[in-house]
């Protein structure tokens, strides 16, 4: 197991390196400099700014400095917010995304999982078909359609909930964004759990369990659960990573001060360090999630454990 982990980490590092290099190359390949939009500056001030951001050094040196900083976890200074580092900006925005993302995925797992299991235990029934039609709708209607609509209905017309903004610790501000984000995942999870549970229940070893006279709850919970969980776990890995990018839209719509918003604002204002820094962060998170998924897999299926 330890060797497996080591092997995965070893592949993770070059991947991260590639992403970081891509980000750096793009940063420096962009036409114009980061400060072009400002007024024309007096040469001395121009020079001092460039020196401050190390833009006067040869490119390869900047690259080494960039990598060294990355290794320390330092994503560099923001170009927009002159006295703040990207790390600080991220530290401010991350809790918002974490709160919304976690709430969303919990909701999606609970509701979607229950719906999927419900449908799986009565396949072909009207309840099953109704649930799956709803799920089809859920995966087809994009977040940036549901989010504005939710806002329109609940905040603007009904005035039940606030129409955006963020107040730390306030569940009312958490509700609509989490719900909007959760809906497609809820639908995906329902479909996956249903298919996985049906597949699991068709396995020959379920017939053995039946022949032993075991009750339904034991068969579901002990025998069918692992086989059902595996496709779900497979899905959750990339899904959790996608939750990050999906929240870009939600933050935009609800005006939340999260990382996605930071990213888009940075993109529109050409704050390159913020943009590439967050990209590297996303990349690292995706790698971590994928690794966690693989570990879960090995834990769930002893046959994979042996091979590993």
């Amino acid at each position: 197991m330890g060797r497996y982990l080591l092997g995965r980490l070893l592949t993770a590092i070059p991947t991260l390196l590639i992403i970081a290099t891509l980000a750096f190359v793009l940063l420096h390949a962009a036409p114009g400099g980061p400060f072009d939009s400002d007024r024309q500056l007096v040469p001395q001030i121009q020079h001092s700014i460039e020196a401050r951001y190390h833009l006067d050094e040869p490119v390869w040196r900047q690259f080494v400095r960039y990598l060294a900083n990355l290794a320390r976890g330092d994503l560099g200074p923001s170009f927009q917010y002159r006295n703040t580092s990207v790390n600080e900006l991220i530290a401010q925005g991350l809790p918002v995304d974490a709160a919304i993302g976690l709430t969303a995925i919990l909701f999606a797992l609970l509701v979607g999982g229950a719906a999927g299991l419900f449908a799986a235990t009565r396949p072909g029934s009207r309840a099953d078909r109704a649930a799956m039609s709803l799920a089809m709708l859920g995966i087809s209607v994009p977040v940036f359609v549901t989010a504005p609509l939710l806002m329109l209905v609940f905040a603007i017309r009904l005035h039940w909930l606030p129409a955006g903004d963020w107040v730390a610790g306030s569940w009312r501000h958490l509700l609509l964004p989490s719900l909007a984000l959760a809906l497609p995942y809820c639908a995906y999870i329902a479909r996956i759990v249903r298919a996985a549970a049906i597949e699991a229940l068709h396995q020959p070893y379920i017939r053995t369990a039946n022949a032993k006279g075991l009750p339904a709850y034991l068969i579901l919970c002990r025998h069918a659960s692992r086989a059902t969980l595996m496709p779900l776990v497979s899905f959750l890995g990339p899904a959790l990573a996608g939750l990050l990018t999906g929240s870009i839209v939600v933050e935009q719509v609800f005006g939340l001060p999260g990382i996605g918003r930071l990213f888009v604002v940075g993109a529109l204002n050409r704050d390159y360090t913020v943009v590439t820094g967050i990209t590297v962060l996303y990349g690292a998170l995706i790698i971590v999630f994928n690794l966690l998924v693989d570990l879960c897999y090995a834990w769930l299926d002893p046959r994979i454990r042996s091979r590993v």
């Binding site: 070893y205 053995t208 039946n210 006279g213 025998h223 086989a227 046959r303």
Partner: protein
């Protein structure tokens, strides 16, 4: 049917039908069966003869799509139509089944200990330690060594023969009265087959459990079974005590099966005699005797379906041939 030992299992006119492409196929067609205590009944037939379906039907595991008719009585209690709870209480506890492919019959995600113990823990309310002790005892009985380690292992870590023995141990956990064995040795190597068969005989002597042993290999049943039922196209075509069946088969199909067994005590023929024709297509059975298309002794009455007739003590065959049948069959198929 009168019997001095009490009937453990008794099936009458047991019929199992499935819908396929708009018609109903009968996997089992009016099967009558008796199993006494401590008895070993062998059931032999080709693929598609319904022998596996028979075992599943006895446990009520034919599946939701099956139409079940007829009666199955366990110690007089009617099982057809009994609620799931009643059936579940019997399964594993009084009537236990050993499936054919041990690798797929065992859950790959759970260790052997869990799978062995769960039946006893649920049915007999044994605590974990008691259940483990029983599992260890049974593993030793089926001649598996290093028991403590095995209990922690997973199915894929064992060899095929060992897995089959684990299945047998698992079936015996709650000390059932009836053991249903669905081709327990078919998927194994020949040498391992012999070991498992020997094991089953020993177990039977020690525990006195009654069993129904389904196989396509007539030779395997010789040292095992008290009686043998021969199935063809979902019907029982012959039933007899084992010696009588081998000595004087009353049905041409049985004779054909016997004839095709390779033997060491007679000169080796150039070609193994086989039954001509193809196994029956359940969707296209002839009206009348199902074996007629392949039978060397087919004659006029065969257009009508034969009922089981007496051929000797406790020996029935579903064939229109009269009392001299055995002789005629032997002449047709030496």
């Amino acid at each position: 049917m009168s019997a001095s030992p009490p009937m453990l299992l008794q099936a009458r006119s047991l019929t199992v039908g499935y819908q396929s492409a708009g018609r109903e196929l009968l996997a089992l067609d009016a099967v009558d069966l008796d199993l006494a205590e401590h008895e070993c009944l062998g059931v032999v037939g080709e693929s598609g003869s319904g022998k596996s379906q028979l075992l599943l039907a006895l446990l009520g595991l034919s599946g939701g799509a099956a139409r079940i008719a007829g009666s199955i009585r366990y110690r007089g209690e009617e099982l057809v139509g009994a609620g799931t709870e009643r059936l579940a209480a019997l399964r594993g506890r009084r009537i236990a089944m050993v499936f054919q492919h041990a690798l797929s019959a065992l859950n790959p995600h759970l260790n052997l200990g869990t799978q062995l113990m769960e039946g006893a823990r649920y049915h007999l309310h044994l605590g974990r330690r008691a259940a483990r002790a029983r599992a260890s005892e049974l593993l030793a009985t089926v001649q598996i060594s290093d028991v403590a380690r095995r209990l922690r292992q997973y199915p894929h870590e064992l060899s095929g023969g060992m897995r089959q023995r684990v299945l047998i141990a698992m079936a015996l956990m709650c000390d059932p009265e009836v053991l249903l064995l669905d081709e327990p040795t078919t998927a194994l190597d020949v040498t391992v087959q012999a070991q498992v068969l020997q094991l089953l005989r020993t177990l039977r002597e020690r525990t006195g459990v009654a069993s129904i042993f389904v196989t396509h290999d007539l030779a395997a049943l010789a040292p095992m079974a008290d009686r043998i039922a021969v199935m063809y196209a979902g019907r029982i075509v012959e039933q007899a005590p084992v010696r009588d069946l081998y000595a004087m088969p009353g049905h041409p199909y049985t004779a054909g099966l016997l004839r095709s067994l390779p033997r060491l005590d007679t000169p080796i023929p150039e070609r193994l005699p086989a039954i001509p024709g193809q196994p029956p297509d359940l969707a296209a059975l002839p009206t009348g005797c199902a074996f007629a298309p392949r039978c060397p002794l087919v004659f006029e009455p065969c257009a009508e379906r034969p009922a089981l007739r007496e051929r000797g003590t406790a020996h029935q065959a579903a064939c229109h041939l009269d009392g001299a049948a055995a002789r005629k069959i032997r002449e047709a198929w030496p």
